[in-house]
Symmetry: C4
Subunit: 269 residues, 4 copies
């Protein structure tokens, strides 16, 4: 439609066009190429299928559906893999048969293959526990597409810059967890040996309370235990405040820096 689109269609060979549409870094405009958008939707659908497949009642209700869907995914992912392998020739590093073998040993090509193999084995009649979990790894493929990968690395960088603050927060959290567990173990250990009979046992209650999750499957019953639990719950607010503040500001810093970087990058183009 716009001149850029015209360009993509008109002047390039099939392999060049495949490369432009499949390789996320090669796409000349912002956002995902239509081909990669379709693939992203397909990955989400395949992951959803792998999640639902673990539920036996659903498998029993529609055994055919899962089989057919799996076959379709196998077909589409295989086709995509072949197309990527063919298009990789546009990159000087992966030219020729030896180059293609080198391409197949790259990180992303292995991830792509790992997304296909479980389906292939499933087709052979097998559908074990482990296989289904392997299928979940397909979601990893999403992280390659588009801006996400760059955003993730920006976040990782920002977290690294504040690693000392986060370490300190987690250190304080750990100390608080151990302290409250030791207190409850002392006070409630005699009354409820099953739940508070040792510090590791009391830690289960401690984590649930300090993170304000509060399952309520174990709770102190003595008066002193409840007073200590109340103090722990109030201290939990502070425990949450520290890493929340650090993480939230690290996150917003990362995105601001990323945006500034993107803008300066576009200006250079």
């Amino acid at each position: 439609m716009d001149p850029a689109d015209e360009e993509v269609g008109a002047r390039y060979s099939l392999r060049q066009r495949l490369y432009l549409h499949l390789e996320p870094t090669a796409w000349p405009r912002t956002g995902l190429s239509p081909a990669n958008l379709v693939i992203a939707v397909l990955i989400v659908f395949a992951a959803l299928l792998a999640i639902l497949e673990t539920e036996e009642t659903l498998r029993a209700d529609a055994p055919r559906f899962f089989q057919y869907a799996e076959f379709l995914i196998l077909l589409l992912f295989s086709t995509e893999y072949m197309a990527r392998l063919y298009a990789a020739g546009e990159d000087p590093r992966y030219r020729g048969v030896l180059g293609r073998l080198r391409y197949m040993r790259t990180w992303w090509a292995i991830v792509d293959l790992l997304a296909i193999l479980p389906s292939l084995v499933t087709m052979g009649g097998q559908n074990t526990f482990l296989l289904r979990l392997l299928k979940l790894l397909r979601l990893l493929r999403l992280s390659r597409l588009g801006r996400f990968s760059r955003a993730w690395s920006a976040i990782a960088q920002a977290v690294q810059l504040r690693s000392f603050e986060l370490l300190l927060s987690f250190g304080a959290a750990g100390m608080l967890l151990i302290l409250s567990s030791a207190c409850l173990y002392l006070v409630e250990g005699g009354e409820q040996p099953e739940a508070f009979g040792s510090i590791p046992r009391a830690l289960w209650w401690s984590v649930a309370t300090l993170t304000t999750v509060g399952y309520g499957d174990v709770t102190p019953v003595t008066a002193l235990g409840r007073i200590l639990a109340g103090i722990t719950a109030l201290a939990g607010i502070g425990l949450i405040a520290l890493p929340t503040g650090v993480l939230a500001s690290a996150f917003s810093d990362a995105l601001r820096r990323q945006a500034a970087h993107d803008r300066s990058g576009q200006r250079e183009e």
Copy 2:
């Protein structure tokens, strides 16, 4: 009382006055007109009635009260609808009979009609399940009145500006949900097939833990399961920190921009 008030009262015809008082955008001063304030209170009251009506014990206690209140609401909303239809003639687009028909097909006029119809049907003796829910839609009418509609659109705009950050946060949340569900499914699936026997089942526990709601209706019982659950609960703090930070700053940005816009608008007047 103030000159503006005098103006409204003195120089205009009945239809003009109705239009000024009923049409939120036509009211010359800040805030709601007295008529729309009364209508807002009425809408809240009608919605409250629709909520309480779903409780059978209350209906049994005071059957007459609900009938009479419903009738009153029908009467007042119908009167309001007629008044709005009559006043719509002030707008050149809705002049004449055809104009009024055109007005009746606008979004807000349909919402107003939808607020009346269920009461009308109720009067005819019917009071089904669905009807009561339709009555709740009356609350939608609130969103038209006064500054709220502008504030909402400002918020929508701000959220849209940060949609990438929010998408990223929700993506990370989704990944964390699936990851923790898969872990607990692996570890606790054998022990508690009812609660952790598949990833979709484990998701119920996962959502409750990562959002720190923590119902406690399902909890891991094995040592490894509890260690993973503790890590999930701690990760939940980070999960909450990211969208909280983004949403809070988007919200405050929107309101600041809205306030700046209001001020510049007043200056222009």
Copy 3:
């Protein structure tokens, strides 16, 4: 110790000294006067006593202790009241017998009297339910002392400035509560009529979920109900983010303004 202290001791009459020490606004230095500090501790102790007194097992364990403590509080609070009444004469408005009667009708004098009366009645052998709650009102007296009253009014002012944002947040929260209640009522009402049989009943679950309290006494059991509950729990994060951000910034604004005001006040002195 410091010259200001010397001043207080040396040049004034007993009534003047009482007035300086008892009237919080008359104290020439920052912080509370020693007398008011003692009274503050006494108020906290009296409130603690009123709280513990409601527990029957404690009353049975140490009936004498509560009687004696109550008598002591009565004695001290009465003495304080008399001293305040006497010292009030320093204020031209409350001079003479008529002035003292006028003082006794002021807000704070009535609060002081209300803190004494329940103890007086208790001494007469009565100790009813209502009486114990009246004793809790003693805590109100704390709010008069020192900087707190000014800080509270600063906070109240700041909250008022952001009342529109808070109203909007609470409006959104209310809409979300009603929406999720209506959904769960539709989906789970048939399965669990006791817990979700009407919108008011479902609201109990809704509040617990959206505030991330999550008691777990009622939880959805159907698949669709759990999906909707999961969405509600995730939406709850946003619900908390908005008022938290607004309140936190209103609070810090208020304290900054208060601090600036205090500094400018000190400079003027």
Copy 4:
């Protein structure tokens, strides 16, 4: 490797080298010395051991492991203590036998000794409840090492600067706790005397609700009780917002100031 390293190795006597490596403030470069890093790992391992030791099933499974590990810790901590005692002679204050006795009476030397003694007693066959808790005190030793001690004092300073705000937040939280407990005691006390029969009993529910922990072991059952509980839960959001905001900003202020201080310190060097 770098010149500083060469220096440490080449020019100093054994005692000087021990002092440089063991005394955290003497280490010429940023971070921990390798020796102190090993000791830090050892402290964490010893604390972990003390935590796991409280669990009887683990002690029964591997009685030898705990004995041997304890012996190893005793050996290593004793060696370290001796080395520190010997190296202390580098400090003019602790020179000679009398100086060493003076060193042994310093705060950190006592903490170091307290970390050894329980192991020594354990070796003698005893392994009581109290002894295991004493072993947890070993974690205190961590706080001496490296930047942490300075970071902690910076945080303590920042919290002190905002102590009035925090006091105010906690005061408001306390008032809210007492108010909601009193309300629930009034409304639910008759229905559930075990859980709400007195204000101290109702406080247990109150803390769990206001901190959004929500165990769910006690919940109101009457309609009015649930309405009040819902209001309490919503108020809990505000209760969390205030100290969270204050603590988060105090924390980030402290770290910024600390970083600025570190930079200016490095420039002076």
